[in-house]
Amino acid sequence: MTFELSHFTAAIVFAACASTVFGITQRNTTREMLRYGAYCFVLFVGGVIVASWAMWLLKH
């Protein structure tokens, strides 16, 4: 079974899984876990978007 993910979709899957693990393992209470997981997810996806625009600007 093979499938083709776009770069952005792959980044979203990566961010979701990594944020889940980071949230659960790095914080103690459920509320803190949710907040930290969401924070990591936003940073991951935001980082991808910022890096994409930076590369676009470098190219043009």
Binding site: F14, C17, A18, I24, T25, N28
Partner: protein, 143 residues
């Protein structure tokens, strides 16, 4: 008038007790968590956390295989290949199943296969973090 205070003998403090307790769970939980992602939490009745961790590692691992990522074999060659193996083996049984079934041959002709290779390595690294967390729960350092 001199203020004379009674002198109390200084008793040396006993060393603080460490939170580390030597229960068999402190060995079993991280081992189980490494072998089967999330199991270290599940055997400690952290059902939701265990299932979420299992789901996250499984999705990353199988997404990596689906993208035709490479599963590294044991090697003593290039440093990055050795580190790739160390990351991959973090997935525990999944790694051994993938090697036994000959999955993860890699495909250098597809750019997305390189993402897949990284997905598999990161799945292993995330699983190691989960196993350490299971250990912390077992010794009472974390709820």
């Amino acid at each position: 008038m001199a203020n004379v205070q009674p002198t109390t003998p200084v008793v040396p403090r006993a060393p603080r007790k460490s939170v580390v307790t030597s229960s068999p769970l402190a060995i079993i939980a991280p081992l189980a968590g490494w072998l089967i992602p999330g199991l270290g939490h599940l055997i400690q009745r952290r059902w939701i956390r265990g299932l979420l961790l299992m789901l996250a590692v499984f999705i990353m691992f199988f997404a990596g295989l689906g993208m035709q990522g490479k599963v590294y074999a044991f090697n003593t060659g290039d440093l990055l290949d050795i580190l790739g193996f160390v990351g991959d083996i973090g997935t525990g049984l999944l790694y051994f199943i993938a090697r036994a079934m000959d999955w993860g041959a890699g495909n250098i002709q597809r750019a997305v296969a390189d993402y897949g290779t990284k997905f598999i390595v990161v799945a292993g690294l995330l699983n190691i973090i989960s196993a350490v967390d299971a250990y912390h729960i077992a010794i009472g350092k974390k709820q």
